[in-house]
Point group: C2
Chain length 168, copies 2
């Protein structure tokens, strides 16, 4: 039997408005996000201090609501098909400094501050780099280069034998 702790500050219910006109969506004060055919909205996450893009993820309604309510980034993991509280495994929690939404409300921008994990310096990428965007594509040639010289943590130590989320 579990003991429930009374929650003296229940989270506010987040109201997602129906999308009724271009003016309402683009220039209004209604939060009226557009979820795609899979029920997802794209989310770009940047480091609030450096401005570096850390990752591009996806949220379903639940993930967006929980991110707003808790101030910690939640995503929908497309590879694992679960709600994903970023940092639940790794300790690399993303604390939200600001949330923005775009003109047609089909994309969200999170500005976050990164936490360090038990075995890891502040970082965001499951491969071990600070940002998921650790590689460059050279203009004109398309050649791949590396923007980060070294990993910030050892993914084996942080994730153990958890399956790699990359899908070919």
């Amino acid at each position: 039997m579990t003991t429930s702790t009374p929650d003296t500050h229940p989270p506010e219910v987040i109201h997602f408005a129906a999308r009724t006109s271009i003016e309402q969506v683009e220039e209004g004060h209604d939060l009226a996000p557009k979820f795609d055919q899979d029920g997802l909205i794209a989310c770009v996450t940047t480091d609030a201090t450096s401005g570096e893009v850390l990752m591009l993820g996806y949220m379903n309604r639940d993930a967006l609501e929980k991110t707003i309510q808790t101030g910690e980034a939640h995503y929908w993991s497309r590879s694992r098909q679960v709600l994903w509280h970023k940092g639940a495994t790794s300790g690399l929690v993303q604390r939200v400094v600001e949330i923005r939404i775009d003109d047609d409300q089909d994309a969200v921008w999170l500005r976050v501050s990164l936490s360090a994990g038990t075995y890891a310096a502040p970082a965001s990428c499951h491969v071990g780099y600070r940002s998921c965007f650790y590689r460059t594509i050279e203009l004109q040639t398309g050649k791949i280069g590396y923007a980060e010289n070294a990993k910030t943590f050892d993914p084996k130590q942080v994730y153990g034998d958890a399956p790699n989320p990359t899908i070919l």
Copy 2:
């Protein structure tokens, strides 16, 4: 009859590799982008100077290739279903400073410098704001606020009667 101008510097053909292993995709030197079921890859575009996120768009193979070859941002317009050389109508061209690609190669990050158009200060958003992300979502409550106080240009003057790309 049109006169063709000989191109003394034909663009390099950009080679997109087949995706053969997680190691190749995440830690290799092959450009092996993953296009989704609609043939698209997500692209986040930031101002190379301020770090501000300007927009989140999508590219097909052709748009990604042309962006690499020309150093100017090209997208696939999902609303108009055409290759979209950003700035072709508005003059608000995005000159690419750096291209990055993420761990599983299903997202691209463009760092760009903005051009001013004939009728517009440097900006990126069809509604008239500098960034498409001109609105905030308040933590805990989900209330919408404005991060930009005023538009940087009059979209009527720049786009005339062109159809609004926002889809409800």
